[in-house]
Protein backbone atom coordinates (compact mmCIF):
# COMPACT_ATOMS: atom_id res chain seq x y z
CA UNK A 1 0.00 0.00 0.00
CA UNK A 2 1.61 3.29 -1.06
CA UNK A 3 1.08 6.36 1.06
CA UNK A 4 0.37 9.94 0.00
CA UNK A 5 0.52 13.29 1.75
CA UNK A 6 -2.69 15.09 0.83
CA UNK A 7 -2.71 18.05 3.19
CA UNK A 8 -0.10 20.22 4.90
CA UNK A 9 -0.26 22.84 7.64
CA UNK A 10 2.18 25.06 9.46
CA UNK A 11 2.31 27.57 12.28
CA UNK A 12 4.99 30.19 11.55
CA UNK A 13 8.33 29.40 13.15
CA UNK A 14 10.23 31.71 15.49
CA UNK A 15 8.84 33.35 18.59
CA UNK A 16 5.09 33.72 19.10
CA UNK A 17 4.45 35.29 22.50
CA UNK A 18 1.27 34.22 24.23
CA UNK A 19 0.66 31.15 22.05
CA UNK A 20 1.61 27.80 23.57
CA UNK A 21 3.37 25.13 21.59
CA UNK A 22 0.27 23.00 21.80
CA UNK A 23 -1.86 25.81 20.37
CA UNK A 24 0.63 26.16 17.52
CA UNK A 25 0.28 22.44 16.89
CA UNK A 26 -3.49 22.76 16.85
CA UNK A 27 -3.21 25.66 14.39
CA UNK A 28 -1.05 23.57 12.06
CA UNK A 29 -3.48 20.64 12.33
CA UNK A 30 -6.43 22.87 11.38
CA UNK A 31 -4.47 24.29 8.45
CA UNK A 32 -3.67 20.80 7.18
CA UNK A 33 -7.35 19.88 7.38
CA UNK A 34 -8.33 23.05 5.52
CA UNK A 35 -5.73 22.25 2.85
CA UNK A 36 -7.66 19.06 2.02
CA UNK A 37 -11.18 20.20 2.84
CA UNK A 38 -11.45 17.43 5.41
CA UNK A 39 -12.73 17.60 8.97
CA UNK A 40 -11.01 16.41 12.13
CA UNK A 41 -13.74 13.79 12.41
CA UNK A 42 -12.45 12.26 9.16
CA UNK A 43 -9.13 11.41 10.81
CA UNK A 44 -8.90 7.77 11.84
CA UNK A 45 -5.66 8.20 13.77
CA UNK A 46 -2.94 10.69 14.67
CA UNK A 47 0.67 10.54 15.74
CA UNK A 48 2.13 13.65 17.34
CA UNK A 49 4.88 14.91 19.55
CA UNK A 50 6.91 17.70 21.05
CA UNK A 51 10.02 17.59 23.19
CA UNK A 52 9.30 20.55 25.46
CA UNK A 53 5.73 21.75 24.85
CA UNK A 54 3.47 19.06 26.22
CA UNK A 55 1.53 16.00 25.17
CA UNK A 56 0.30 16.15 21.59
CA UNK A 57 -2.82 14.09 22.24
CA UNK A 58 -4.26 16.77 24.50
CA UNK A 59 -5.02 18.81 21.37
CA UNK A 60 -8.13 16.67 20.91
CA UNK A 61 -9.81 18.86 23.51
CA UNK A 62 -9.59 21.72 20.98
CA UNK A 63 -9.90 19.77 17.74
CA UNK A 64 -12.74 17.57 18.94
CA UNK A 65 -13.17 14.46 21.05
CA UNK A 66 -13.83 12.04 18.24
CA UNK A 67 -12.33 9.04 19.98
CA UNK A 68 -9.63 8.48 17.37
CA UNK A 69 -6.39 6.61 18.08
CA UNK A 70 -3.91 9.35 19.04
CA UNK A 71 -0.39 8.22 19.96
CA UNK A 72 2.24 10.54 21.38
CA UNK A 73 5.72 10.23 19.91
CA UNK A 74 8.89 11.27 21.69
CA UNK A 75 12.12 10.63 19.84
CA UNK A 76 14.45 13.56 20.35
CA UNK A 77 15.28 15.51 17.21
CA UNK A 78 13.51 12.87 15.12
CA UNK A 79 10.19 13.33 16.94
CA UNK A 80 8.42 14.83 13.92
CA UNK A 81 10.04 12.37 11.55
CA UNK A 82 9.08 9.48 13.82
CA UNK A 83 5.46 10.70 13.94
CA UNK A 84 5.47 10.73 10.16
CA UNK A 85 7.01 7.29 9.97
CA UNK A 86 4.44 5.93 12.40
CA UNK A 87 1.62 7.42 10.33
CA UNK A 88 3.17 5.94 7.23
CA UNK A 89 3.26 2.48 8.80
CA UNK A 90 -0.30 2.78 10.06
CA UNK A 91 -1.53 3.24 6.50
CA UNK A 92 1.02 1.05 4.78
CA UNK A 93 0.03 -1.86 7.01
CA UNK A 94 -3.55 -1.52 5.84
CA UNK A 95 -4.82 -0.80 9.33
CA UNK A 96 -6.04 2.72 8.52
CA UNK A 97 -6.88 4.73 5.39
CA UNK A 98 -6.31 8.28 6.55
CA UNK A 99 -4.75 10.11 9.48
CA UNK A 100 -2.47 12.88 10.69
CA UNK A 101 1.13 13.43 11.80
CA UNK A 102 1.77 16.55 13.85
CA UNK A 103 4.82 18.02 15.57
CA UNK A 104 5.31 21.22 17.54
CA UNK A 105 7.58 22.80 20.11
CA UNK A 106 8.34 25.86 22.16
CA UNK A 107 11.76 26.06 23.77
CA UNK A 108 13.13 28.69 26.17
CA UNK A 109 15.66 31.12 24.75
CA UNK A 110 19.37 30.31 24.74
CA UNK A 111 21.27 27.07 24.31
CA UNK A 112 19.44 23.81 25.01
CA UNK A 113 19.90 22.80 28.65
CA UNK A 114 20.79 19.16 29.00
CA UNK A 115 20.17 16.88 31.95
CA UNK A 116 23.24 14.60 31.71
CA UNK A 117 21.76 11.85 33.89
CA UNK A 118 18.61 11.78 31.76
CA UNK A 119 20.86 11.18 28.77
CA UNK A 120 22.59 8.19 30.35
CA UNK A 121 25.69 10.17 31.35
CA UNK A 122 27.36 10.75 34.70
CA UNK A 123 26.44 13.96 36.53
CA UNK A 124 30.15 14.89 36.39
CA UNK A 125 29.88 15.31 32.61
CA UNK A 126 27.60 18.30 33.07
CA UNK A 127 29.46 19.60 36.15
CA UNK A 128 32.65 19.95 34.17
CA UNK A 129 31.11 21.67 31.17
CA UNK A 130 30.93 19.04 28.46
CA UNK A 131 27.15 18.51 28.21
CA UNK A 132 26.76 21.06 25.41
CA UNK A 133 25.72 20.07 21.91
CA UNK A 134 27.61 22.96 20.19
CA UNK A 135 30.90 21.41 21.37
CA UNK A 136 30.11 18.20 19.54
CA UNK A 137 29.28 20.03 16.33
CA UNK A 138 32.49 22.04 16.63
CA UNK A 139 34.58 18.93 17.20
CA UNK A 140 32.97 16.88 14.44
CA UNK A 141 33.44 19.52 11.74
CA UNK A 142 36.92 20.38 13.07
CA UNK A 143 38.03 16.82 12.35
CA UNK A 144 36.15 16.71 9.06
CA UNK A 145 37.79 19.93 7.84
CA UNK A 146 41.17 18.46 8.78
CA UNK A 147 40.48 15.18 6.97
CA UNK A 148 38.93 16.61 3.80
CA UNK A 149 40.41 20.10 3.41
CA UNK A 150 37.19 21.99 3.96
CA UNK A 151 37.79 25.66 4.76
CA UNK A 152 35.97 28.23 6.84
CA UNK A 153 34.74 29.76 3.58
CA UNK A 154 32.44 26.78 3.10
CA UNK A 155 31.00 27.22 6.60
CA UNK A 156 30.21 30.85 5.85
CA UNK A 157 28.65 30.12 2.46
CA UNK A 158 26.19 27.62 3.92
CA UNK A 159 24.95 30.13 6.48
CA UNK A 160 24.65 32.97 3.95
CA UNK A 161 22.64 30.71 1.63
CA UNK A 162 20.27 29.52 4.32
CA UNK A 163 19.49 33.00 5.66
CA UNK A 164 18.99 34.23 2.09
CA UNK A 165 16.52 31.41 1.47
CA UNK A 166 14.82 32.15 4.78
CA UNK A 167 14.32 35.77 3.72
CA UNK A 168 12.06 34.41 0.95
CA UNK A 169 10.00 32.28 3.32
CA UNK A 170 7.05 34.03 5.02
CA UNK A 171 6.93 31.32 7.72
CA UNK A 172 10.63 31.60 8.62
CA UNK A 173 11.84 33.13 11.85
CA UNK A 174 14.91 35.00 10.63
CA UNK A 175 13.92 36.81 7.49
CA UNK A 176 16.91 39.12 7.22
CA UNK A 177 19.70 37.95 4.94
CA UNK A 178 23.19 38.12 6.43
CA UNK A 179 26.21 39.23 4.42
CA UNK A 180 29.31 37.08 4.15
CA UNK A 181 31.04 39.44 6.58
CA UNK A 182 28.15 39.32 9.07
CA UNK A 183 28.61 35.56 9.34
CA UNK A 184 32.41 35.43 9.07
CA UNK A 185 32.85 38.06 11.78
CA UNK A 186 30.16 36.90 14.20
CA UNK A 187 31.21 35.67 17.65
CA UNK A 188 33.11 32.39 17.82
CA UNK A 189 30.82 30.00 19.73
CA UNK A 190 32.58 26.64 19.48
CA UNK A 191 35.59 26.82 17.18
CA UNK A 192 35.39 26.74 14.15
CA UNK A 193 31.67 27.54 14.37
CA UNK A 194 30.44 31.08 14.81
CA UNK A 195 27.19 32.49 16.13
CA UNK A 196 25.46 32.98 12.78
CA UNK A 197 26.43 29.49 11.66
CA UNK A 198 24.17 27.96 14.33
CA UNK A 199 20.44 27.50 14.56
CA UNK A 200 18.74 28.44 17.83
CA UNK A 201 16.00 26.76 19.84
CA UNK A 202 12.67 28.25 18.80
CA UNK A 203 8.95 27.57 18.32
CA UNK A 204 6.75 26.31 15.56
CA UNK A 205 4.48 23.52 14.39
CA UNK A 206 3.73 21.44 11.32
CA UNK A 207 1.05 18.90 10.49
CA UNK A 208 0.27 16.69 7.56
CA UNK A 209 -2.53 14.44 6.50
CA UNK A 210 -1.64 11.08 4.99
CA UNK A 211 -3.86 8.63 3.18
CA UNK A 212 -3.76 5.53 1.01
CA UNK A 213 -2.18 6.48 -2.29
CA UNK A 214 -5.04 4.99 -4.30
CA UNK A 215 -7.50 7.37 -2.63
CA UNK A 216 -5.29 10.46 -2.70
CA UNK A 217 -6.77 12.09 -5.78
CA UNK A 218 -10.18 12.04 -4.16
CA UNK A 219 -8.90 14.77 -1.83
CA UNK A 220 -6.31 16.71 -3.80
CA UNK A 221 -5.14 17.33 -7.33
CA UNK A 222 -1.54 17.42 -6.12
CA UNK A 223 -0.77 14.49 -3.87
CA UNK A 224 2.84 13.99 -2.80
CA UNK A 225 3.83 10.35 -2.44
CA UNK A 226 5.92 9.20 0.47
CA UNK A 227 8.16 6.69 -1.26
CA UNK A 228 10.40 6.00 1.70
CA UNK A 229 10.76 6.74 5.38
CA UNK A 230 13.68 5.43 7.42
CA UNK A 231 14.80 6.10 11.00
CA UNK A 232 18.15 4.70 12.19
CA UNK A 233 20.09 4.95 15.44
CA UNK A 234 23.84 5.00 15.85
CA UNK A 235 26.11 2.02 15.42
CA UNK A 236 29.16 1.32 17.51
CA UNK A 237 32.01 3.52 16.32
CA UNK A 238 30.10 6.45 14.85
CA UNK A 239 31.02 9.88 16.24
CA UNK A 240 28.01 11.12 18.17
CA UNK A 241 26.99 13.89 20.50
CA UNK A 242 27.62 13.24 24.22
CA UNK A 243 30.12 10.43 23.75
CA UNK A 244 32.45 10.26 26.75
CA UNK A 245 34.69 8.12 24.59
CA UNK A 246 34.90 6.99 21.00
CA UNK A 247 36.11 3.80 19.40
CA UNK A 248 39.37 3.91 17.46
CA UNK A 249 37.65 2.43 14.41
CA UNK A 250 35.07 4.77 12.94
CA UNK A 251 31.70 3.46 11.72
CA UNK A 252 29.36 5.27 9.32
CA UNK A 253 26.99 7.83 10.87
CA UNK A 254 23.32 6.93 11.41
CA UNK A 255 22.55 9.34 8.57
CA UNK A 256 24.44 7.07 6.17
CA UNK A 257 22.37 4.10 7.30
CA UNK A 258 19.06 5.96 7.11
CA UNK A 259 19.90 7.43 3.72
CA UNK A 260 20.87 4.11 2.19
CA UNK A 261 17.74 2.45 3.57
CA UNK A 262 15.51 5.22 2.22
CA UNK A 263 17.06 5.20 -1.26
CA UNK A 264 16.73 1.44 -1.42
CA UNK A 265 13.11 1.57 -0.29
CA UNK A 266 12.26 4.29 -2.82
CA UNK A 267 14.15 2.65 -5.66
CA UNK A 268 15.94 5.88 -6.54
CA UNK A 269 19.42 7.27 -5.94
CA UNK A 270 20.93 10.60 -4.87
CA UNK A 271 21.24 11.65 -8.53
CA UNK A 272 17.44 11.49 -8.86
CA UNK A 273 16.75 14.06 -6.15
CA UNK A 274 15.65 17.53 -7.35
CA UNK A 275 15.46 19.31 -3.98
CA UNK A 276 16.66 18.36 -0.48
CA UNK A 277 16.25 19.51 3.09
CA UNK A 278 19.27 18.45 5.16
CA UNK A 279 19.70 18.92 8.90
CA UNK A 280 21.60 22.18 9.33
CA UNK A 281 21.94 22.47 13.08
CA UNK A 282 24.97 24.49 12.06
CA UNK A 283 26.95 25.04 8.88
CA UNK A 284 29.25 22.10 9.45
CA UNK A 285 26.31 19.73 9.80
CA UNK A 286 24.91 20.68 6.39
CA UNK A 287 28.33 20.21 4.82
CA UNK A 288 28.88 16.77 6.35
CA UNK A 289 25.29 15.73 5.65
CA UNK A 290 25.70 16.48 1.94
CA UNK A 291 28.20 13.63 1.85
CA UNK A 292 26.62 11.37 4.48
CA UNK A 293 23.40 11.38 2.46
CA UNK A 294 25.30 10.39 -0.65
CA UNK A 295 24.90 13.61 -2.66
CA UNK A 296 28.63 14.28 -3.02
CA UNK A 297 31.97 12.78 -2.05
CA UNK A 298 33.72 13.83 1.15
CA UNK A 299 35.65 16.98 0.34
CA UNK A 300 33.64 17.96 -2.73
CA UNK A 301 31.49 20.33 -0.67
CA UNK A 302 34.03 23.11 -1.04
CA UNK A 303 33.51 23.10 -4.80
CA UNK A 304 29.75 22.55 -4.55
CA UNK A 305 29.39 25.66 -2.40
CA UNK A 306 31.71 27.80 -4.50
CA UNK A 307 29.77 26.82 -7.63
CA UNK A 308 26.39 27.38 -5.99
CA UNK A 309 25.17 23.83 -6.60
CA UNK A 310 23.01 23.94 -3.44
CA UNK A 311 21.40 27.30 -4.21
CA UNK A 312 17.71 27.38 -5.21
CA UNK A 313 18.69 27.48 -8.89
CA UNK A 314 21.57 25.02 -8.47
CA UNK A 315 21.74 21.36 -9.40
CA UNK A 316 20.70 20.23 -5.92
CA UNK A 317 18.94 23.00 -3.96
CA UNK A 318 19.42 22.38 -0.22
CA UNK A 319 17.33 23.93 2.56
CA UNK A 320 15.22 26.08 0.27
CA UNK A 321 13.09 27.26 3.21
CA UNK A 322 16.14 28.50 5.11
CA UNK A 323 16.61 25.29 7.10
CA UNK A 324 17.02 25.24 10.86
CA UNK A 325 19.25 28.28 10.66
CA UNK A 326 16.50 30.59 9.41
CA UNK A 327 13.57 28.74 10.99
CA UNK A 328 15.08 27.91 14.36
CA UNK A 329 14.89 24.50 15.93
CA UNK A 330 11.61 23.54 17.56
CA UNK A 331 12.72 19.95 18.01
CA UNK A 332 9.31 18.30 17.64
CA UNK A 333 8.44 20.21 14.47
CA UNK A 334 11.68 20.41 12.46
CA UNK A 335 11.42 17.08 10.67
CA UNK A 336 7.89 17.85 9.54
CA UNK A 337 8.88 21.37 8.45
CA UNK A 338 11.30 19.78 6.02
CA UNK A 339 8.56 17.58 4.59
CA UNK A 340 6.19 20.58 4.44
CA UNK A 341 8.75 22.47 2.35
CA UNK A 342 9.30 19.54 -0.03
CA UNK A 343 5.52 19.22 -0.49
CA UNK A 344 5.32 22.94 -1.37
CA UNK A 345 8.20 22.59 -3.82
CA UNK A 346 6.76 19.49 -5.50
CA UNK A 347 3.35 21.13 -5.69
CA UNK A 348 4.95 24.21 -7.29
CA UNK A 349 3.67 26.43 -4.49
CA UNK A 350 6.91 27.67 -2.97
CA UNK A 351 6.53 31.21 -4.31
CA UNK A 352 9.64 33.34 -4.38
CA UNK A 353 11.84 30.40 -3.43
CA UNK A 354 10.33 27.90 -5.89
CA UNK A 355 12.91 25.55 -7.39
CA UNK A 356 12.68 25.95 -11.20
CA UNK A 357 11.74 23.28 -13.75
CA UNK A 358 8.99 21.47 -11.83
CA UNK A 359 10.92 19.38 -9.31
CA UNK A 360 9.37 15.94 -8.95
CA UNK A 361 11.52 14.15 -6.37
CA UNK A 362 12.47 15.50 -2.95
CA UNK A 363 14.43 14.38 0.08
CA UNK A 364 14.41 15.22 3.77
CA UNK A 365 16.93 14.41 6.47
CA UNK A 366 17.02 15.03 10.22
CA UNK A 367 19.82 14.21 12.62
CA UNK A 368 19.91 14.67 16.37
CA UNK A 369 20.86 13.56 19.82
CA UNK A 370 21.82 10.99 20.92
CA UNK A 371 22.73 9.84 17.41
CA UNK A 372 19.69 9.17 15.29
CA UNK A 373 18.60 10.12 11.82
CA UNK A 374 15.37 10.13 9.86
CA UNK A 375 15.14 10.33 6.07
CA UNK A 376 12.22 10.55 3.63
CA UNK A 377 11.98 10.40 -0.15
CA UNK A 378 8.97 12.13 -1.71
CA UNK A 379 7.72 12.23 -5.29
CA UNK A 380 4.89 13.75 -7.28
Amino acid sequence: MDVAIIGIGIHPFGRTEGVTGLEQGTHAARQALADTGLDWSDMQFAYGGSSAAGAADTMVSKLGLTGLQFINVSNGCATGGSALQSAYMAIQSGMFDIGMAVGFDKHPRGAFTINPEGSGLGKWYGDIGMALTPQFFGMKIQRYMHDYDITEDALVRVAVKNYRNGSKNPNAWRRKPFSYEDVAESMMVCHPLRKYMFCSPAEGACAMILCRADKARKYTAKPVFLKAVAVKTRQFGSFEVFSQSQALDRAPAPTVQASRAAFEMAGVGPEDIDVAQLQDTESGAEIMHMAENGFCADGDQEKWLQEGYTEIDGKLPVNTDGGCMANGEPVGASGLRQVYEICLQLRGEAGERQVPDNPSTGYTHVYGAPGLSGVTVLTT
Binding site: D127, R143, M188, H191, S245, L248
Partner: protein, 146 residues
Protein backbone atom coordinates in the same frame (compact mmCIF):
# COMPACT_ATOMS: atom_id res chain seq x y z
CA UNK B 1 48.52 21.47 50.08
CA UNK B 2 45.20 20.12 51.36
CA UNK B 3 45.23 16.66 52.88
CA UNK B 4 44.03 13.79 50.76
CA UNK B 5 40.96 13.59 52.98
CA UNK B 6 39.86 16.98 51.71
CA UNK B 7 40.10 15.91 48.08
CA UNK B 8 37.14 14.18 46.48
CA UNK B 9 37.01 12.86 42.90
CA UNK B 10 34.30 14.43 40.71
CA UNK B 11 32.86 10.94 40.27
CA UNK B 12 33.75 7.51 41.60
CA UNK B 13 35.47 5.14 39.23
CA UNK B 14 36.62 7.63 36.56
CA UNK B 15 40.29 7.45 37.61
CA UNK B 16 42.44 5.78 40.25
CA UNK B 17 42.23 7.85 43.42
CA UNK B 18 43.95 8.55 45.70
CA UNK B 19 47.11 8.02 43.71
CA UNK B 20 50.42 9.70 42.99
CA UNK B 21 50.14 8.59 39.38
CA UNK B 22 46.42 8.58 38.65
CA UNK B 23 45.12 6.79 35.58
CA UNK B 24 41.77 6.93 33.84
CA UNK B 25 39.78 3.75 34.32
CA UNK B 26 38.21 2.21 31.26
CA UNK B 27 36.86 -1.23 30.59
CA UNK B 28 38.00 -3.79 28.09
CA UNK B 29 35.75 -6.44 26.60
CA UNK B 30 37.17 -9.91 27.17
CA UNK B 31 35.42 -11.12 24.02
CA UNK B 32 36.22 -8.53 21.36
CA UNK B 33 38.88 -6.38 23.03
CA UNK B 34 37.08 -3.06 22.60
CA UNK B 35 37.93 -0.44 25.22
CA UNK B 36 35.41 2.07 26.56
CA UNK B 37 35.60 5.00 28.95
CA UNK B 38 34.22 5.31 31.59
CA UNK B 39 34.24 1.64 32.57
CA UNK B 40 30.93 -0.08 31.88
CA UNK B 41 29.57 -3.56 32.38
CA UNK B 42 28.28 -4.26 28.87
CA UNK B 43 30.25 -4.08 25.63
CA UNK B 44 28.77 -1.57 23.14
CA UNK B 45 30.56 -3.27 20.24
CA UNK B 46 29.70 -6.97 20.56
CA UNK B 47 26.86 -6.76 23.14
CA UNK B 48 28.86 -9.08 25.42
CA UNK B 49 28.84 -8.66 29.18
CA UNK B 50 32.29 -9.88 30.11
CA UNK B 51 34.41 -6.76 30.67
CA UNK B 52 37.39 -6.00 32.88
CA UNK B 53 38.62 -2.70 34.27
CA UNK B 54 41.64 -1.30 32.49
CA UNK B 55 43.99 1.52 33.48
CA UNK B 56 44.29 3.75 30.42
CA UNK B 57 47.43 5.31 28.94
CA UNK B 58 48.36 8.73 30.31
CA UNK B 59 49.60 10.10 27.00
CA UNK B 60 47.91 10.39 23.65
CA UNK B 61 47.32 12.59 20.63
CA UNK B 62 44.64 15.22 20.18
CA UNK B 63 42.12 13.76 17.69
CA UNK B 64 39.80 16.75 17.51
CA UNK B 65 39.02 19.82 19.59
CA UNK B 66 36.88 22.89 20.02
CA UNK B 67 36.79 25.93 22.24
CA UNK B 68 33.77 26.48 24.45
CA UNK B 69 33.19 30.17 23.81
CA UNK B 70 30.36 30.97 26.24
CA UNK B 71 29.60 30.27 29.89
CA UNK B 72 27.63 26.99 30.01
CA UNK B 73 24.19 26.96 31.64
CA UNK B 74 23.90 26.18 35.35
CA UNK B 75 22.73 23.59 36.09
CA UNK B 76 24.37 21.40 35.05
CA UNK B 77 27.64 23.40 34.88
CA UNK B 78 29.50 23.82 38.16
CA UNK B 79 32.66 25.60 37.03
CA UNK B 80 33.83 28.51 39.21
CA UNK B 81 33.48 31.29 36.66
CA UNK B 82 31.08 34.22 36.62
CA UNK B 83 29.98 35.88 33.38
CA UNK B 84 32.67 38.48 34.14
CA UNK B 85 35.52 36.05 34.79
CA UNK B 86 34.63 33.42 32.19
CA UNK B 87 37.36 32.61 29.69
CA UNK B 88 36.82 30.19 26.80
CA UNK B 89 38.14 26.68 27.48
CA UNK B 90 39.21 23.80 25.28
CA UNK B 91 37.42 20.48 24.90
CA UNK B 92 38.64 17.61 22.78
CA UNK B 93 39.09 13.92 22.19
CA UNK B 94 42.50 12.48 22.99
CA UNK B 95 43.40 9.24 21.28
CA UNK B 96 45.12 6.88 23.71
CA UNK B 97 47.25 4.53 21.63
CA UNK B 98 45.66 1.16 20.99
CA UNK B 99 42.81 1.86 23.43
CA UNK B 100 40.15 4.51 22.94
CA UNK B 101 39.54 8.23 22.36
CA UNK B 102 38.57 10.01 25.56
CA UNK B 103 36.63 13.27 25.69
CA UNK B 104 38.09 15.75 28.14
CA UNK B 105 38.55 19.38 28.95
CA UNK B 106 41.87 20.66 27.70
CA UNK B 107 44.15 22.79 29.82
CA UNK B 108 46.47 25.13 28.03
CA UNK B 109 47.77 28.62 28.49
CA UNK B 110 47.34 29.27 24.77
CA UNK B 111 44.19 27.97 23.07
CA UNK B 112 45.47 29.18 19.70
CA UNK B 113 48.07 26.42 19.62
CA UNK B 114 45.58 23.53 19.76
CA UNK B 115 46.20 21.30 16.75
CA UNK B 116 44.95 17.89 15.71
CA UNK B 117 47.74 15.36 16.32
CA UNK B 118 49.52 17.24 19.13
CA UNK B 119 50.80 15.23 22.10
CA UNK B 120 48.70 15.45 25.24
CA UNK B 121 49.22 14.29 28.84
CA UNK B 122 46.64 13.34 31.44
CA UNK B 123 46.33 15.76 34.36
CA UNK B 124 44.30 14.93 37.45
CA UNK B 125 43.86 17.95 39.70
CA UNK B 126 41.52 20.29 41.53
CA UNK B 127 38.58 21.54 39.50
CA UNK B 128 36.41 23.39 42.02
CA UNK B 129 35.72 23.60 45.76
CA UNK B 130 32.47 22.27 47.08
CA UNK B 131 31.41 22.00 50.74
CA UNK B 132 34.95 22.79 51.89
CA UNK B 133 36.50 20.02 49.81
CA UNK B 134 38.53 20.10 46.63
CA UNK B 135 36.75 18.37 43.77
CA UNK B 136 39.32 16.50 41.68
CA UNK B 137 38.77 16.02 37.96
CA UNK B 138 40.76 14.91 34.92
CA UNK B 139 42.03 17.05 32.06
CA UNK B 140 44.52 16.76 29.24
CA UNK B 141 47.32 19.26 28.71
CA UNK B 142 49.73 19.69 25.80
CA UNK B 143 52.83 17.63 26.58
CA UNK B 144 55.10 20.60 25.99
CA UNK B 145 53.41 22.42 28.89
CA UNK B 146 53.67 19.55 31.36
Amino acid sequence: MPSIADQVPIAEGLFTWPSNDPRLLGSKCRDCGVVTFPAQSGCPACCGQDTETLELERQGKLWTWTIQGFLPNRPPYEGPETPETFRPFGVGYVELPGQVRVEARLQTEDLSKLRIGMDMDLVVEKYIERDGKDIIAFFFRPSDES
